[in-house]
Subunit: 173 residues, 2 copies
């Protein structure tokens, strides 16, 4: 093995180790999503819960919507629009029947979170994202950002909830 | 109005005000659940997310499982048994179809959290709760604890997951 090859293997091994030991606080990916230039916010997996949801159909997921402190405060105060700096994170996992739980309940009724599908972010910056209602949009799957074509659809879909500052999710008490 | 009646009205108004302004950090109820003597842990609504689930059937809810810092650390470290002081909270809300979301998706597929149904807690204290695997169990609805008969069923139902220290929910990455 040449010295260069050895170094490459060592770097790859190290990268794998880092990826393996740091999954608890979200992906450490540095790649920014197109159009809005959003990176995965560090520590978003630790944010407080806004609400939960289930999308059936093709999405077939269970989701949790988390918010940074600015988001949570705005929700709890019932104040709109959300202030600049607000970030809302939507995590989603496969919708998986739980045989273990069903056995205990004595019937097939229980669905739990499976593998993570993707994570989306809405970032409020009323100046930077003025053209899209003050929000930037991003989606990542395994740390890789979604492409431009997908992100171009976000704003139009959120417009029906303009009265709630383009945010669908309501706070679950 | 007599002075006593006035005072009663004033106290009732004040109580209403307090109840109205403090919903964000969970119920402020002081009543302990039977058997295990567990009160609602202050600030549990701010805890980090462990996972989400959907129970169909009679429960018909969407749920979020949150944990205090000891719970989250144990999950992320993959360490069992959970240490004394661990508290796991299970929040649940009605499973409500979202007409608003369905309109945007163009099909009936979206279910969101409705009214809160009840909240459950598992509290680890290996000495105090030695007779039930080291866990105390509690359930509250609108701040009122569930009765003894219900809480007596908790431990037996959790026994099938003894290998995971009696905890059903697994961490959603």
């Amino acid at each position: 093995m040449t010295r260069t090859a050895f170094l490459l293997v060592a770097v790859a091994a190290l990268a794998g180790l880092v990826a393996f030991t740091a999954p608890s606080s979200g992906h450490a990916a540095d790649e920014a999503a197109p159009i809005f230039g959003i990176k995965i916010p560090p520590g978003y997996r630790d944010w407080k819960l806004i609400s939960v949801a289930h999308e059936a159909g093709n999405l077939n997921d269970l989701r949790a919507i988390l918010g940074n402190d600015l988001a949570i405060k705005a929700y709890r105060d019932g104040k709109l629009p959300f202030p600049d700096g607000t970030i809302i994170a939507r995590l989603a996992w496969g919708y998986v029947p739980s045989g273990e739980n069903n056995k205990v309940f004595g019937r097939a009724q229980s669905f739990v979170a499976g593998t993570a599908t993707n994570v989306q972010f809405m970032v409020k910056d009323s100046r930077k994202y003025a053209a899209t209602g003050g929000w930037g949009f991003a989606q990542f799957k395994d740390g890789k950002p979604a492409d431009e074509a997908l992100l171009k659809t976000c704003f139009a879909c959120h417009e029906p909830v303009k009265a709630r500052d383009l945010v669908f999710t309501q706070y679950a008490p």
